[in-house]
């Protein structure tokens, strides 16, 4: 009975329900509850309320808020001119997309036409496979030496038979 006079029992019942009373206070309140049925009724009513709230809390459907949060962050970032590093690309690319694609197409077309024109104007140079020791290999040597127009089978033979630097004829 000392407990009942000393404490605000409404507070104590509420804290008891939440498991927030000290062991001594809990023992005292439980003794009082055994003696006073009206307090037990109050406690059950509070328990019913608690159950109502906890059930409602459990029923809250889990939602993914991130897509909406991300959209808001990106929208605000654009406004402030500050974007997270990775996201800045994601935002800028779609913006550039409208102009970037036609520009890239035009560039590819110009480069293609230029390459085609250059290719048709330049003399076609077909090199033989490096494995064949044809006189054309020599003519390649001659091109390097600047005498391709004078190449003939005789000159090739002379070239082959000629001593190298520091060599003497037998």
């Amino acid at each position: 009975m000392r407990f009942f006079r000393r404490k605000n029992w409404e507070e104590e019942l509420s804290a008891y329900l939440d498991g927030e009373l000290s062991e001594a206070d809990r023992g005292e309140l439980e003794a009082l509850l055994r003696e006073r049925p009206e307090l037990r009724v109050r406690l059950e009513e509070l328990r019913g309320l608690k159950s109502l709230f906890s059930t409602a809390a459990r029923e809250q459907s889990p939602l993914d808020l991130w897509p909406g949060v991300r959209a808001k962050i990106l929208a605000k970032s654009k406004g402030r001119g500050v974007l997270p590093v990775r996201e800045s690309l994601l935002v800028l690319l779609p913006q550039l997309g409208g102009r970037l694609v036609p520009a890239l197409c035009a560039l590819v077309l110009v480069v293609s036409v230029a390459l085609l024109a250059f290719h048709s104007a330049a003399p076609r140079q077909e090199l033989p496979p490096l494995a064949s020791a044809s006189p054309l290999s020599l003519s390649e040597e001659e091109i390097f030496l600047g005498g391709a127009e004078e190449t003939s089978p005789e000159s090739i033979l002379q070239f082959i038979m000629a001593p190298g630097p520091g060599e003497e004829l037998p």
Partner: protein, 203 residues
């Protein structure tokens, strides 16, 4: 990485650091970690106006992203987030007070009656949607009938399951204040719900 930090579960402070360096993915982890709790708290605070809770919570989280440079780690990240959300809720409630949605008493009576009349299945799969909706509306009306301070402690206790000490930390008040506010909130609601306790199983 801090001591004892799980490689797969980076700490809040590490995620904040990474978010500050522009890594939006780190902030995404923080959002997914706390979105459920925060949304529950916002819904509770908005009471019957909870249909706007998702938008408001998203707005709060986006605002938090830009406010990260001001987060000094003096409280937990969630506490900091929660305070931003509650400030925003207060603004929203002030705005809504100018546009009342109807009689709170009517909503309370209607949802309480609906709960009494509908079959009381276990609150799990299979419970009629009308009953879930009626319970949600009743809780919303009950919360809305409380003064702000009492509503806040009740949401933190019942919807978030926090201890008195945690609530005191978040609200920057004493454990005694939490205890008395909670008792007053429950006492007030108990009186209001009294006519319905005769069929307690109905709730």
């Amino acid at each position: 990485m801090g001591a004892g930090e799980d490689v797969h579960e980076p700490s809040d402070s590490r995620l904040v650091e990474r978010s500050l360096s522009g890594e939006l993915g780190a902030f995404e982890v923080l959002v997914r970690r706390y979105q459920g709790r925060l949304l529950g708290a916002v819904r509770g605070m908005l009471g019957l106006h909870a249909e706007g809770a998702e938008d408001l919570t998203q707005e709060v989280l986006a605002k938090a992203y830009f406010s990260l440079p001001g987060f000094r780690g003096e409280s937990s990240f969630y506490t900091w987030l929660y305070r931003i959300a509650m400030n925003r809720c207060k603004d929203e409630l002030r705005r809504m007070a100018r546009h009342p949605t109807g009689s709170l008493e009517e909503v309370f009576e209607r949802s309480a009656e609906a709960l009494r009349e509908l079959p009381a299945d276990e609150p799990a799969e299979g419970e009629p949607e009308e009953r879930v909706e009626a319970r949600r509306e009743l809780v919303g009306a009950a919360l809305e009938s409380l003064p702000h301070g009492q509503r806040e402690v009740l949401v933190l206790k019942e919807m978030e399951g926090m201890s008195y000490e945690e609530i005191a930390g978040i609200l920057r008040c004493s454990v005694g204040t939490v205890k008395s506010r909670l008792a007053r909130a429950r006492s007030r609601l108990r009186e209001r719900f009294a006519p319905y306790f005769e069929r307690k199983e109905g709730f």
